[in-house]
Symmetry: C2
Subunit: 140 residues, 2 copies
DNA sequence: CCGCATCCTAGGCGATACTG
DNA sequence: CAGTATCGCCTAGGATGCGG
């Protein structure tokens, strides 16, 4: 049971690219995006079309059932998504200028991955809930 | 651009199941698992077989390049994974008793999802890095 | 309307020391 | 060896107020 891993572990490390800890390596960070409070939801909403900042904020509030994202955090999340190339920020030449956000092709691709994962989880939700119930009961 | 969403948003909400905020609904929490510092890595390692607590801790340390998980957090993460039915905890009747952890079938399934996602990200890593570089350069 | 700066809190995580 | 308890840090994220 000791030698077995030596081969496997090598590519595991490569897979997660966890050499240092805060490498600029996308793997951990993108996983982090999907796991955080808002990014995935933003992805889901932008998947339906382009949104302006305030409009997006209102929509997120609806979806999240009255619990709104602060504008500070929305700006932060959009910046991160934009920096990674998942979201494009467009500013009109109007006066006053209007800012709108939309998914890039890469962002649409990520959006698809996220949906796939969410669907998988939702399909397993009953199993998971059962497991939790059993665990909490056994534990007394 | 306003009416468009009304239909879509309904199932978006259902999809993420974000009714309250801290529902016992698995979707957000499992996404959170994948995004946190250790859970995915634990999944990856347990994907190669069963491990005892200390052994697992050492292995994780290797993979994460000398940055070890604290035993407190390892216990926490294993508990969460166990509670959700992804990991099974087995105790031998020996003296002294030995504890070992392994993936359940559901856990192996999640492991496969995680790998798939990681592979997707790694395949896009160059694009993402390019986007970042462009963003950081433009931003001055 | 968009974004920034400031302040504050809750929770994740690490370190250490202690029990069965 | 497995697990718990205490502590302290550090970051995500909320609230509010200002400037463009």
């Amino acid at each position: 049971m000791q030698q077995r891993e030596l081969a496997d572990l090598a590519d595991l490390a490569a897979e997660m690219a966890l050499h240092g800890k805060d490498r600029d390596d996308p793997a951990r960070e993108v996983m982090g995006l999907l796991g955080d409070r808002w990014s995935t939801l933003i992805l889901l909403v932008l998947g339906t079309g382009a949104f302006r900042h305030a409009e997006l904020r209102r929509t997120l509030a609806q979806l999240s059932s009255e619990q709104a994202i602060s504008q500070r955090v929305l700006t932060l999340k959009l910046r991160t998504l934009e920096r990674d190339g998942f979201v494009a920020r467009a500013v009109t030449a109007d006066v006053p200028p209007k800012v709108s956000y939309a998914l890039t092709p890469l962002g649409q691709d990520l959006h698809a991955q996220a949906r796939h994962l969410i669907d998988w989880i939702n399909a397993r939700a009953p199993q998971i809930r059962d497991a939790r119930e059993r665990f909490d009961r056994a534990d007394d």
